[in-house]
Symmetry: C2
Subunit: 216 residues, 2 copies
DNA sequence: CGCCTATTTGAAAACCGTCAAAGTATGTGG
DNA sequence: CCACATACTTTGACGGTTTTCAAATAGGCG
């Protein structure tokens, strides 16, 4: 989801932004904010990788998204005067640009093109969330996993840097189930994998799987 | 989700909008657009009730949302140059205001306050979608159903005009399972129900259920 | 009254989560 | 450089929740 929201900014605008922005750094596995925290800041990822997640009632983690450079973070909270709806943690060494809520709104009133960029990003995320909703509500684990991998590969290429644990948390299943399915796929030559990494070897077969059980 | 996006409009703006807008009417159970249709129009619901849904690979319907007067429709498509990501059907007699994609963007460039309204609406929907994702990925059917009912009651009051079928499609389960759980709740005095309608009778107990299994 | 849709109940089976235990990379400190 | 700790991966067995299939009942509308 490389969405360089502020790519369109010329130097004047950057200058203007710098007045209301502040840099924040965080090392690997540090929490940027918790679900429920008051939400004064809106962030743009400058460098690194951030995981956004929620917890279930019995303590399992559900990963909503991974964000990288150019992605925005904390928008839902800032535009609604509500606490952050999810937690964010840096996965690797990360550099963020933080913008105060109030300043951001003023800035956007003056720069409608940036607003449109944000609308576009939010639309895209909403679309993705809805697609995942459909999957979680109606598909089997095997299909959910295959769709997940395919969706991830659109953005990240065929080699996906995630552990089974993370894949499970994204697909809404358990590590054991994920391992069982991936093992099967490895035998069938659909994927390859090393520790902490899965590589899609046969995208065609994976697509077939994602479309449902062998109807017939 | 009564979000009167265009409530802030004064007469001048309304006049301006009327140049790029067109009214569209549709009677009950008519399709407004299908998932995958090219998306030239953005809609605001003026009157009636609209159901937005997606189909699973084995033909089950997943209801993403019901929209009423003031709600916007088709935004994800219009701001992204992609086909509609879900289908929309009128549930009752409905009146819509349709706005052409191109015209809308121009309009928003001139009225940044409306853009902010839209951002706020999208944020709120994204928040809801993510919360549902969490539920679907990590909670039992009983908890999903109770959360669903509670969420719906925030917007619609304690009497919810939905069939078991629709509730199932929203909670991502089957009609039979929903019936079994609701029957249980009825016995326990948590809800009442008549054909096509469920009334929450004991919100406190329902909230307890939504928070997970009786820990301990 | 008759038809269509919504609701209900039962029984069997499938899918997947849970628990337990062991094997295997990776990195750290001695 | 080795030993150890840690995190990731793997496998097996069991059980529970939920789906599936089948059939019956009940409510509402023409």
């Amino acid at each position: 989801m490389q969405t360089p929201i502020f790519a369109a900014l010329d130097n004047d605008k950057l200058q203007e932004l710098s007045l209301i922005a502040r840099e924040r750094r965080s090392s690997a596995n540090e929490t940027i904010f918790w679900e429920g925290d008051p939400s004064d800041w809106f962030y743009v990822v400058a460098e690194g990788k951030v995981k956004v997640s929620k917890l279930t009632s019995n303590g399992r983690e559900i990963i909503l998204a991974f964000f990288g450079p150019g992605d925005i973070l904390g928008e839902a909270a800032v535009f609604e005067n509500k606490p952050y709806p999810a937690s964010a943690q840096s996965v690797s060494e990360t550099r963020l640009v933080g913008i105060k809520k109030s300043g951001l709104i003023e800035f956007l009133m003056k720069h409608p093109d940036i607003s449109l960029e944000i609308i576009s990003t939010l639309s895209s995320r909403l679309r993705e969330a809805q697609s995942r909703l459909r999957d979680l509500a109606g598909e089997r684990v095997e299909q959910r996993l295959s769709r997940m991998l395919l969706r991830l590969s659109e953005r990240l290429g065929d080699t996906l840097p995630f552990t089974r644990q993370e894949l499970s948390d994204m697909a809404g299943t358990t590590t054991e189930t994920t391992i069982r399915i991936l093992s099967q796929w490895k035998e069938r030559g659909i994927i390859q994998s090393v520790r902490g990494e899965v590589t899609i070897a046969d995208k065609v077969k994976l697509k077939l799987l994602s479309e449902g059980p062998p109807q017939v």
